[in-house]
Symmetry: C2
Subunit: 301 residues, 2 copies
């Protein structure tokens, strides 16, 4: 079992969403490495930002990211960068997400070693965030990024904002960057057999953290005009603690109160295998079920 591959996901964000040539050069390192898969990338011209989704073995993904960071630092100049999305560096943020045979602590360790190497190779100050943060005020990416590229020189004079790696001042053209570990995010929508948005709004409020609901659940109500139905649209930020089936059951119970049933649900985009196995194990009351029991997953070892 010890020779099983450690697989992580990463979603690096680069501050270039317009220049196709630069975008392609940033993507190259993720395409040429056989142990890394480029799952998706979204280049947004308005945001002027490139969001890349990759998975792969720990060592391979680290090397591919360091190479792409090198490309971005040499080709992107934040001094002339304009876009709708807030940003503080040529590489704005790089989260690492544990997927297979990898713990959150290992993903955090990976973020620290990649962060140290970004500073060493490219001279860019690095802040560790989320589960990798070295202080509570650095956990939230928005807090680190506040003031953006333009204000970062002044902000970093405060010892509170000394970077975890690299120089105490921003890179002249590439700014600063954040690296950290976090859980995968699952986009989960539950559709109700009613046209009344009020009902979806009340339920969304009940299930989300800010309304007193599940700690790792963000929820809003959405109207599906063509279907004449409403939806509770969610992001689950830690499926191990706020489970898919718990959230679903709570919505079902709350909807019942209004005589409303659930017409269906959907997972938007990708989800980690464990999140779905967890639902199956709950339903079947399986006393144990490991990803290792899934036949196809043996090809990942």
């Amino acid at each position: 079992m010890s020779n099983e591959k450690k697989i992580v996901q990463s979603v690096p964000n680069f501050s270039e969403g317009r220049n196709k040539e630069v975008i392609e050069r940033i993507l190259d390192p993720f395409r040429k490495n056989g142990n890394v898969r480029l799952l998706d990338y979204q280049a947004d011209a308005d945001h002027n930002r490139l969001v890349v989704t990759i998975i792969g073995e720990v060592a391979s993904i680290a090397e591919a990211i360091l190479e792409a960071v090198g490309v971005a630092v040499s080709l992107i100049d934040l001094r002339v960068h304009r876009g709708a999305h807030p940003r503080m560096g040529a590489v704005d943020v790089t989260p690492f997400i544990p997927l297979r045979q990898t713990t959150m602590e290992e993903a955090a360790a990976l973020s620290r070693s990649v962060g140290a190497e970004i500073a060493r190779r490219h001279g860019v100050p690095v802040f560790l965030y989320e589960k990798s943060a070295t202080a509570p005020h650095r956990e939230n990416l928005a807090s680190i990024r506040k003031g953006e590229f333009e204000a970062m020189g002044e902000k970093m004079k405060d010892p509170l904002w000394k970077p975890d790696f690299g120089p105490d001042a921003p890179h002249p053209s590439a700014g600063v960057t954040a690296v950290g570990a976090r859980m995968p995010l699952i986009a989960f929508n539950v559709t109700l057999n009613t046209e009344e948005e009020g009902i979806a709004a009340v339920i969304a409020r009940k299930v989300r953290f800010s309304g007193g609901g599940f700690r790792y659940c963000k929820a809003i109500s959405v109207v599906l005009k063509e279907k004449k139905q409403v939806q509770v649209s969610m992001n689950l930020t830690d499926f191990k603690r706020s489970a898919l089936y718990s959230v679903f059951e709570m919505i079902r119970i709350e909807a019942e109160r209004y005589g409303v049933s659930i017409s269906g649900s959907e997972i938007v985009g990708l989800a980690p295998m464990e999140a779905l196995l967890d639902v199956a194990a709950h339903t079947l009351r399986l006393t144990h079920l490991s990803a290792h029991q899934i036949i196809e997953s043996r090809l990942l070892d």
Copy 2:
């Protein structure tokens, strides 16, 4: 999507469970091919039989099996083979099981091409069975094997038992072999909060095909002496038609009648990803969920 890998499982059975050197030489072709994974093998001295479980891409798995068949045909002599398990050939049977991006029809086509090639390269008569059978009386492996190696020469004089490929008489030392396509088998046990075996026996009878229950469900009752509980122990031979959650729910409902609850369940060994995703989709009422949405599975493409 068209460049996704077609992945199948196969469980070839060889008539050698004692001679370690022969066993190792049969296993070699499954170890040296990077696109094939040797998941498991069980060599049983009493049965004098080797059961190998492999997964891999269609083309690679076919080539590895043809090579292993060649080794078995040259090293195993059925004329001196004795063992507790019925057998008709050096390679007794080779099922192909569709797993990913593969339909049952494609698995059957693979079994036909491998069968034809076994006959051509190794001169062994081949019978197609299960979903690949060319006549109803050949679907059941036990019917084909009846009489075993010793009676096969006489049996094949009957046109009903003309092989699908190869000569009309058994190979002198390697006999005949069966090749076919079938669904994966899931071993699923549900444990009841009671010591009374009678209750598990009644429920087993109700859920299994032979008792009027689910078509693709075989079930028996088992006593767990140490736990002081009883179990409904099942083999599900087609999870797409007799689903895990349907069988589980039926057991739950039947047990309720006796005031007995379910204490837990287990999947023994391996199960295909789709069988568990199917349970999750049922519980969450997902209107669609494809294996392609599982992050880790993208590494299989």
